[in-house]
């Protein structure tokens, strides 16, 4: 009997599903395509749950490992495995894909099958990035995942979609080419292997490490995105359809952060320590500078996009202060930001579907007409502002605790988000949700229907559960994080 292992299943099942959905073809089969897509995404999510239930959180070793020779000539392997850092991100991916499929249910009326298929295929590829332990496999997934996203923005996007799609594609592509060069160098340094775990053990000189760090940085910083290579994100978000924005913000941004954890820090620990000051500075600039930029945005999607950059600053800050609170906080922030930014983009999507505008100024007093929607929007906005009891608090809190251990001033700078984050998020809420109804279009708004209530409730539940009880989430990552920190503390020189 053919034995398919779990990780392969979670990667390839949605891809196969995507191809099947694609095969349903024309618009007349759209209902079938939708149901099929939902079936595959739910099944993938259920499958991925066994990663959690079968996970052993007492070991830092890779789990569910699959390792087969692939391209023998170049010693490229089909090498998969997860640890406590990647596992939560995979669950996040499978969960959000379900949400995105439901969110696109009635909204997408053209090329439905292709739309759904693109998301399913992208899901598999993204999970591939989180599982890959072979550098070339990692690189292939990393690049391949851009293609569906490029198509999603380019086909279902807004008016300026082509500019945004190309900007997105080139920005991210250019960065990753240098990463590939880095991998090839490491291949020789590690003695003809592309195994990332082998890369972790290779001794490297200082200058080599610095160069490699910068090569990886060019790939990861663009994805996170870090200042000053962040300007593709607001454009991409504004033009992307709602589902695209959700996946982009919730998962794709995490790829860059994940790259730091899986590759930069363990492969070039000395360079990481040496350049930590620069990274911390960039992170704090992102937190503060971008917060001010966020404040003055008039387009809701742009506002949330900029707010994402600011929040991702917390993630990179957490990594480069090299302590447990910082790193666990950063990973929690990655997961939490997935839910919150996804939810906020969905909220904007709900409004956009009704009024076809993302301008804050076109709204006002929405709560009068859409009380149920207002409840969700305010909840997610508060989560975005890091209110305790929501997931947004957990990561920021731990990162601030961690950065205080490194330097009190870091904590102060990062902590300004308490004020600035609340300012830009709640000011938006004030102008969109609250106030009197002054515009005719707003007066005609209808409240969210069952389908919308359902997916927003799912996300609200996640945000609240993680906020009230983050214990299980943190529990799975302890050993992996401690192992990573110990590894990076040992010099490779």
């Amino acid at each position: 009997m053919l034995q398919i292992e779990l990780l392969s299943l979670v990667i390839w099942f949605p891809i196969v599903g995507g191809i099947l959905v694609l095969a349903t073809g024309g618009e007349q089969n759209a209902p079938v395509a939708r149901k099929l897509a939902l079936g595959f995404s739910v099944a993938t999510f259920v499958l991925s749950l066994s990663l959690y239930t079968g996970f052993d959180n007492t070991t830092a070793a890779m789990q569910f490992v699959e390792r087969k020779a692939w391209i023998d000539l170049l010693h490229i392997e089909y090498y998969l495995g997860v640890d406590g850092i990647s596992m939560p991100l995979i669950l996040l991916t499978t969960f959000l894909t379900v949400v995105v499929v439901i969110a696109g249910w009635e909204v997408i009326q053209q090329r439905t099958a292709q739309y759904m298929a693109a998301f399913l295929i992208m899901e598999g590829l993204m999970i591939g990035v989180f599982c890959a332990l072979d550098a070339i496999l990692f690189y292939l997934f990393w690049e391949a995942m851009l293609v569906p996203m490029y198509l999603i923005i380019g086909i279902w996007g807004g008016t300026n979609r082509v500019y945004a799609a190309i900007k997105f594609f080139l920005y991210t592509l250019l960065g990753s080419l240098l990463m590939l060069v880095g991998f090839i160098y490491l291949y020789f340094a590690a003695g003809s292997t592309f195994s990332i775990l082998e890369f972790h053990q290779v001794a490297l000189g200082r200058n080599t490490q610095i160069l490699l760090f910068l090569a990886f940085l060019s790939a990861f910083a663009v994805k996170v995105p870090m200042i000053p290579v962040h300007t593709w994100l607001p454009d991409a978000h504004v033009e992307a359809p709602t589902g695209g924005s959700v996946i982009l913000a919730a998962i794709m941004l995490k790829m860059g952060a994940y790259g730091f954890l899986r590759i930069s820090l363990p492969v070039v620990p000395d360079a990481s320590h040496e350049l930590a000051g620069l990274m911390i500075a960039l992170s704090l600039v992102a937190v503060v500078y971008i917060a001010f930029v966020t404040l003055v945005q008039r387009d809701m999607k742009k506002l949330i996009a900029y707010s994402s950059i600011s929040h991702m600053g917390f993630v990179t800050l957490g990594f480069f202060i090299f302590n447990v609170h910082g790193m666990e906080g950063a990973i929690t922030q990655m997961v939490s930001h997935g839910f919150i930014s996804g939810a906020l983009f969905l909220c904007v999507g709900v409004l956009y579907d009704r009024l076809h505008s993302r301008e804050i100024g076109d709204y006002g007093g929405v709560a009068n007409r859409m009380p149920k929607f207002a409840l969700f929007m305010v909840l997610f906005a508060l989560a975005n502002a890091g209110l305790p009891g929501t997931s947004g608090f957990v990561g920021e809190f731990l990162v601030i605790l961690g950065s205080f251990q490194a330097n009190g001033w870091y904590a102060l700078a990062a902590g300004t988000t308490l004020v600035l984050g609340a300012a830009y998020t709640l000011w938006m809420v004030k102008r969109v949700v609250f106030g009197a109804v002054e515009k005719k279009e707003v007066a005609d708004l209808r409240d969210i229907e069952l389908r919308e209530t359902f997916f927003l409730s799912l996300l609200a539940l996640c945000v609240l559960v993680i906020g009230v009880w983050p214990f299980p989430l943190l529990e799975v990552m302890h050993v992996s994080v401690e192992n990573l920190l110990q590894h990076t503390a040992v010099s490779k020189l």
Partner: protein, 642 residues
């Protein structure tokens, strides 16, 4: 007993969630019955707990582990001792009164059920705050009450002014919270724990540890920690210069002004400092800062109250000033007296707010005192209870406020904290100003000629029983709480070990009788009487005197009307300045430098170069992807061959 502790906040939470989510189906009657039932239960259980605590019981334990990181357990847990028991009784009692009152006050409001859900949720959050046994949960409660305050100030969300006020309140509070959070981070860094018990126990050992600040200055960690925590208290308890949000919070419905912005939430800062008394006691510098900030707040806010014409704003500035009194008591190390004043103030200030609300509904949402007058005959219950509240506030024996305020003044007189002399002058002078603005309110609203509008002249009458009964029930402790509690407070029995005792102040042994006798030969009482007399002259006997004085001292009057210009300054610098900065960074940083110059500039350059190789460009993504893979293979082969 643990179940009871858990039950007290959880019934409020359950009621809030139920009414919040199912309010429309439940209807109004069910909504208020459920929440009132829950809060009544919480109150009864709190009294039971308080009795047990008075009998010597104490509980310190965790409920569940919130998270673990780096071996540190972050827990949700309860500490039930004298301090938390007193707070629980005060919070649930005032909350219950406000719940009942709301039936009358919000009777015609379309957001009726939502309002009940919010105030129950608030009660839950406030209980979690006072019952906490660790800094994490304290912060949880701290932020949660802030959230509810935000939602309730902006309760009438169609009003622009309410939305503005709620956002302002949240953001100013967040500035304080930033300090508070950094204080918590510092505690974890220095003590390695966030549990009160562990931190307090090891505080003396860490008393001498220092850190190097800017320019090589040496700072004691404990001073830093206490100052950071106090920044949080300044936000929540509206101390200068973070006081600006509280007067604007009056945009919210009056019941919440009573509950949140007078009796409970704004006193969270006072409670917190009292809770942290083992830390503050170790830092003279921090105490001195506390004392001076409190003193400045006391007098500066009392003076503003003199020129306000909105009935709620007079009471709001009075609250600010009274919070200043409590802060002064904290600075003088008289923590138990601060909490004592917190409790008496909770009763009489909630009473005053609710009485003001009673007037406001009787006059169809008229809040300007210049259009009131002679209401005592029309609203006898409201008048009498308001008078009791005012006498308590002014500090006339034997009303509650007299004992707590006098105890504060005595404690400051005997304090050795640097700045105590200044604070003493301020708190004594404050008595006169308090009497003046309080009786200005009483005389303008209830006495003198009627200045009611035509419509109100016909319809104004006493409020229904759901409004007056809470007034009467709050009037009782406004009269008696001082008399009953002053002895146990000063002897140290009431608070036991839960806050640092009031050692060395020489007022330990005082009882109610001593104070009643002593009052007649001391300055404050006569100042209070003088204040009442001046108010009588200015606002009843010769009604034009007040405006003549305002004209004579026009500059001073203008300064007070403009609230020292602090609000305007903040709006210019922080609100406008922040936006201007944001626009500049966005336009020049993101757009001009990065996008136009670097990104698109590169694109243009590439575009020109690529004219040469245009024939290779097909525009299909798969061609590019294909080329990429070929390139990859070629590159690898090259590496392999060399």
């Amino acid at each position: 007993m643990e179940t009871v502790y858990l039950l007290i906040p959880l019934v409020c939470l359950a009621a809030a969630v139920l009414v919040g989510l199912a309010g429309q189906w439940l209807g109004r009657r069910a909504a208020h019955s459920i929440t009132i039932g829950a809060v009544a239960m919480a109150f009864v259980l709190s009294v039971v707990v308080a009795v047990e605590v008075a009998g010597g019981q104490r509980f310190d334990g965790s409920v569940y582990i919130w998270a673990v990181s780096d071996g540190i357990q972050f827990e949700i847990g309860f500490l039930i001792d004298q301090l938390s028991a007193v707070m629980m009784v005060v919070v649930t009692f005032v909350s219950l009164m406000v719940h009942v009152y709301t039936i009358g006050y919000m009777h015609d409001d379309p957001g009726y059920t939502r309002f009940f859900s919010y105030i129950s949720l608030f009660t839950f959050a406030m209980l979690m705050l006072v019952m906490s046994n660790n800094f994490l949960q304290l912060f949880f409660g701290w932020e949660a009450v802030g959230l509810l305050s935000y939602l309730l100030i902006g309760f009438w969300f169609e009003r622009e002014s309410a939305n503005f006020a709620s956002l302002k309140a949240f953001l100013v509070n967040r500035v304080g919270d930033l300090g508070f959070l950094l204080g918590i981070a510092a505690i974890l860094y220095v003590f390695g724990s966030l549990d009160y018990a562990a931190v307090f126990a090891s505080a003396p050992q860490h008393a001498t540890e220092t850190m190097t600040g800017i320019l090589g200055s040496q700072w004691r960690w404990l001073t830093i920690i206490c100052l950071l925590l106090f920044v949080g208290a300044m936000g929540k308890s509206a101390q200068v210069p973070l006081h600006v949000w509280l007067p604007d919070s009056m945009e919210g419905p009056t019941p919440i002004s009573a509950l949140i912005h007078a009796a409970t939430m704004v006193t969270a800062g006072i409670f917190m400092v009292a809770r942290m008394s083992p830390l503050f006691e170790l830092s003279q510098t921090a105490l001195s800062v506390v004392l001076i900030i409190g003193a400045v707040t006391t007098i500066s806010m009392a003076l503003i109250a003199l020129v306000q014409n909105d009935i709620k704003r007079v009471v709001a500035y009075s609250t600010l000033s009274q919070l200043g009194y409590m802060t002064v008591a904290l600075g003088a190390s008289a923590y138990s007296i601060a909490i004592f004043h917190l409790a008496t103030h909770a009763f009489f200030k909630a009473l005053l707010f609710l009485a003001a609300g009673s007037v406001i509904i009787a006059l169809h949402h008229e809040q300007d005192m210049r259009r009131m007058g002679a209401l005592w005959k029309r609203m006898p219950v409201t008048y009498l209870t308001a008078l009791i509240g005012t006498l308590a506030l002014v500090g006339i024996p034997p009303f509650a406020g007299f004992f707590s305020k006098d105890a504060i003044i005595e404690a400051v007189a005997l304090s050795h904290t640097p700045g105590a002399k200044f604070a003493y002058v301020v708190v004594v002078a404050g008595v006169f100003v308090t009497a003046l603005y309080s009786f200005r309110l009483i005389f303008m609203v209830f006495h003198g000629p009627s200045r009611l509008s035509e419509d109100n002249r016909k319809h104004a009458r006493e409020s229904p029983w759901v409004v007056t009964v809470p007034l009467i029930l709050l009037a009782i402790p406004s009269v008696l709480a001082g008399l009953v509690l002053v002895g146990p407070t000063l002897s140290g029995h009431l608070f036991g070990e839960s806050v640092m005792p009031i050692d060395g102040h020489g007022i330990n042994g005082y009882g109610a009788t001593d104070m009643l006798v002593h009052a007649w030969v001391s300055l404050p009482l006569w100042l209070a009487i003088a204040g009442i007399a001046v108010a009588w002259i200015l606002y009843l006997r010769s009604p034009h005197a007040a405006s003549r004085i305002a004209n004579r001292f026009r500059l001073l009057h203008e300064i007070l009307i403009r609230k020292y210009g602090v609000d305007e300054l903040y709006e210019r610098v922080f609100a406008d300045g922040g936006q201007a900065l944001g626009r500049t960074l966005w336009k020049f940083g993101d757009r001009l430098i990065i996008d136009d110059t670097l990104v698109n500039g590169t694109a243009k350059l590439v575009g020109r170069l690529s004219g040469v190789v245009r024939s290779l460009q097909t525009g299909y993504v798969y061609h590019y992807a294909f080329a990429m893979i070929i390139g990859l293979v070629a590159l690898m082969s090259w590496f392999l061959w060399t």
